[in-house]
Symmetry: C2
Subunit: 193 residues, 2 copies
DNA sequence: GTTATGTTTGTTAGTATTCACTAACGGATA
DNA sequence: TATCCGTTAGTGAATACTAACAAACATAAC
């Protein structure tokens, strides 16, 4: 698991919820403490500052993403691996829609220099993993080679993010799973050799 | 042009700049008035409230997008039209990087119910225009028909947004024009019949 | 042409509210 | 006895916004 106490994990979860509901401006110590049912100063028994809470949120996201990526069987065909990866993310979002607010956290946190760096590192890491996956697929003849892996990864991640973004904006008011699968079918057609 | 006074336009422009520099949390009446060189209460001579300023920002974005879209020659091949559209946006962002903060404004404004609605309408409108463009291309044999126009538009907009998002996050530290053109070449290969 | 009047656009000084965070204290538990 | 983990009460700073007033200037009356 992670190194956080039960109360710390509770604060992290409620904070993600709050960002989803009210945006980053809704993430206040008062809102967090109200959500949990303790007073404001009690929060400071568990985190030194609000920034520390946000860093913990980022760290939690990082962990759950890594866990998910490690579960993908490397022996499957590339397109299957991409599908599994995106579907895994999708299931996680459906299970916990609050997380969709965080997928865009690069933008939300971009103007806080302390928080921007870990976000950027995580983003780059994830993309590099996908690029490596696609390049391997190109080497093994799974994926067309006339388009660079970097461009393909841009399309895959971009399409998915835009779809999830829309789902969030539309207040989760359509079947994300269905739309993601349609998108993945289109991606499959596009990637075929 | 628009119906705003000179001072109102100045407030709108400085506000866009502020959002780009410091995020939506940096958009305060004090920051706006400092940027312009007048006092805080003077702002209220030109806008009734901060919300009115944000609505004016949205309206300005809408106008400039429409202006751009109307300039595309409808007689060109579909792929050329898509390229022109994306390149037009790109040039606008390069000329005024502050605008990149606004392309994600759906997310930034999503938690303010007064502001979310006009943003959503604008978003849907733009996407419908692109879908219509692609469907016309499919009918005329310009674009492959085995993928629905909606899916193609998702890929095009998603890829572009993700690229611009990265440009913003990386502090505009790569050649956006070059990367966009590489992306458009990939899109072209993908869309070919 | 001068004076009176109204409008526009700014000022200073202030409001109430919210923010992150702290000091001092107390009960429960090891 | 010491350590958690909570409380009440408060801090100073920042927030959007307001009240009251003043200078500049255009319009219109005399």
């Amino acid at each position: 698991m992670n190194n956080y106490t039960e109360r710390q994990n509770q604060i992290i979860q409620e904070s993600i919820q709050l960002i989803a509901e009210k945006g980053i401006q809704g993430l206040t110590i008062k809102n967090i403490s109200n959500a949990i049912g303790i007073t404001e100063p009690a929060i400071y028994r568990h985190f030194d500052s609000k920034n520390e809470i946000i860093l913990a949120i980022i760290s939690t996201m990082k962990e759950s993403t890594n866990k998910e990526l490690s579960q993908i069987d490397d022996n499957n065909p590339t397109i299957e691996k991409i599908k599994k990866m995106i579907q895994g993310h999708t299931n996680r979002f459906i299970k916990n829609p609050s997380l969709t607010a965080i997928i865009f956290s690069e933008e939300i946190f971009n103007n806080n220099s302390i928080l921007a760096k870990p976000i950027r590192i995580m983003m780059k890491l994830n993309q590099n993993k996908l690029i490596a996956m696609i390049e391997k697929g190109q080497a093994s003849g799974d994926v067309r080679v006339d388009i660079k892996a970097e461009q393909i990864s841009l399309m895959v991640i971009g399409s998915f993010r835009f779809l999830v973004s829309k789902w969030h904006i539309m207040n989760f008011d359509f079947d994300l799973k269905k739309d993601v699968n349609e998108m993945l079918d289109a991606i499959e057609k596009v990637l075929k050799v």
